[in-house]
């Protein structure tokens, strides 16, 4: 299959980070596509959990919301929402939390609350949802967002979800039980935290993307790993699975629903 977009590459790169049988708490949007692509390709036994309480779900189409009926129909079990957050997430039974955000800083802290001051926001965003506790308690998190100087910022307008706080050992001094962000998947490549300082560094780039482009897309002086890995382009199998998933999803979401009589 020839040709692919950066959006596709981003989803594929994120999906490749997941492994078979891992337990993954899925955010809606980009993470949902990546997690389901992993399930449809190399990780058929991945356990996907959505915050609506659906555990081990295997949707044929991507859900528009985190609570579409498709998720319940194809789940191993459906539990009440307080259980998913207390007995599973807080209890440390989630390997990977997969999150999106409007803003990220160099230590992987996330903003999904407001742009501008909280009391008088320039843009009011949807808010925290499940993200702060996912960020705290998943054993590790992956973050997906498109990088621009407005999304990758030197200082967050609001810290909704914790990454490595102020870097170094500062996260370790909180009561967060999870390990924090292990990778940030952008539309040019992947950032990972330095072992000591916990500052995000460029460690991998997509085919056709450059270090200069990456540095221009990030609003802080982006550090580079000693060896930057060039990521292989999407395989024909990955592209086909992803495109078929999107085709099924678009058809399902635009299908007219019979209004209840």
């Amino acid at each position: 299959m020839s040709g692919w977009t950066r959006d596709e590459m981003m989803t594929v790169a994120a999906a490749r980070l997941l492994w078979d049988r891992c337990v993954c708490f899925v955010g809606i949007g980009l993470p949902s596509a990546a997690c389901n692509l992993a399930r449809l390709t190399h990780a058929p036994e991945i356990v996907l959990i959505y915050e609506s309480g659906t555990i081990g779900t295997r949707p044929d189409v991507l859900p528009l919301s985190i609570g579409d009926g498709e998720l319940a129909d194809t789940a191993a079990c459906v539990v009440p929402l307080p259980e998913i957050f207390s007995y599973y997430l807080q209890a440390g039974r989630v390997d990977v939390g997969f999150l999106g955000a409007a803003q990220i800083d160099r230590y992987g802290n996330l903003n999904s609350t407001v742009i501008g001051p909280y009391a008088h926001p320039k843009t009011r965003l949807p808010g925290a949802g499940g993200a702060p506790e996912i960020a705290a308690h998943a054993l590790q998190t992956f973050v997906m967002l498109k990088a621009t100087p407005r999304s990758c910022v030197a200082k967050l307008d609001f810290r909704t979800s914790v990454g490595y706080l102020d870097g170094g050992g500062s996260r370790g001094r909180t009561t967060a039980r999870g390990g924090g962000p292990r990778a940030v998947i952008t539309d040019f490549g992947i950032l990972t935290p330095d072992e000591e300082t916990r500052e995000l560094r460029l460690t991998a780039v997509f085919p056709g993307a450059s270090v200069i482009e990456a540095q221009a897309a990030v609003g802080w002086p982006l550090r580079l790993a000693a060896d930057i890995e060039p990521l292989p382009e999407p395989t024909a199998g990955e592209l086909q699975a992803l495109r078929e998933l999107h085709t099924r999803t678009n058809a399902a979401h635009s299908r007219a629903v019979h209004l209840p009589a």
């Binding site: 919301s65 009926g69 705290a136 979401h253 209004l259 209840p260």
Partner: protein, 281 residues
């Protein structure tokens, strides 16, 4: 438990200024009840809901609310709730006080409310700025280990309204599928009102099913389609195309008011609302 019409339920049990929770996590959202509150022009409500969704966008845009307790205020998978944003960003149609949490925090607050405990406790709100803007998010020290844990005040709504698949004639209510925090929000309330797809002679026997027993239910109204454009598992699907269309309908104040006037205020009841959508399709 009393069986009544939805209009009677709202007339009798929802007062101006009440703390009202219409729960339902994407699934079983009590839209018909929200629309009836709008028709009856309740004012100054303190609305409580984890995910405000379109139903609270409508209540806020129609000036029914003065305060909102919530944890995620978007149109799932689509983007913003424009009426909620307009209220927070510009104070239209009136100022809206917000009491903002995380999902885990609200779940803990509902659980505490259901158990009639004063607060919910969780290992939560770690490293987030939320406690700095919401003085109701506090901490408590574990008396056994000394660990600092987050504490949130119990939520005990004056009225919780749920939509469910079935009730029997005694008023036992059965919910299946994704059930969010509905059971906790229902048991936390001073009054629990329920709309249902179907009234049946007897609920099918099912151990461990989610059932709200008749003596915790204040009143039930038969309201088929009462969760539309959200869904009722086993009855009808979520209208994702409508959720996408709402982005355009609600983006401007005028187009929002025109739609609400035509379809909600212009309809006598929920059956009329659904008929008006069919006519416009």
């Amino acid at each position: 438990m009393a069986l009544a019409s939805l209009r009677e339920l709202i007339e009798r049990h929802v007062r101006d200024g009440d703390r009202v929770a219409l729960e339902g996590f994407t699934h079983l959202i009590p839209f018909a009840a929200g629309h009836e509150i709008i028709r009856q022009q309740r004012r100054n409500l303190h609305l409580v809901r984890m995910t405000p969704d379109i139903v609270y966008d409508q209540l806020i845009g129609m000036d029914c609310a003065r305060k909102l307790t919530f944890s995620w205020g978007g149109n799932p998978g689509v983007g913003s709730l424009h009426r909620l944003r307009d209220a927070i960003e510009h104070g239209w149609p009136g100022p809206l006080e917000i009491d903002e949490h995380t999902h885990a925090g609200m779940a803990a607050a509902y659980c505490a409310g259901a158990a009639r405990l004063p607060f919910g406790v969780l290992r939560g709100y770690i490293g987030t700025d939320l406690p700095s803007v919401n003085p109701r998010i506090r901490s408590v020290q574990c008396p056994f280990t000394g660990e600092q844990l987050a504490a949130v005040p119990a939520i005990n709504p004056d009225v919780t309204i749920l939509h469910a698949q079935q009730a029997d004639r005694a008023g036992n209510v059965s919910l299946t599928g994704i059930i969010g925090a509905q059971r906790e929000a229902g048991l936390a309330a001073k009054k629990l009102l329920v709309t249902v797809e179907e009234i049946v002679d007897a609920l099918p026997p099912a151990m461990n099913a989610i059932v709200l027993p008749h003596w915790v239910v204040t009143a039930v109204a038969h309201c088929p389609g009462g969760a539309y454009p959200a869904y009722a598992h086993g009855y009808y699907a979520r209208d994702n195309a409508f959720y996408q269309a709402w982005d355009g309908i609600s983006r401007e104040r005028e187009s929002f008011r025109t739609w609400m006037d035509r379809h909600v205020l212009g309809s006598r009841d929920h059956r009329g609302f659904l008929d008006s959508l069919r006519a416009a399709a």
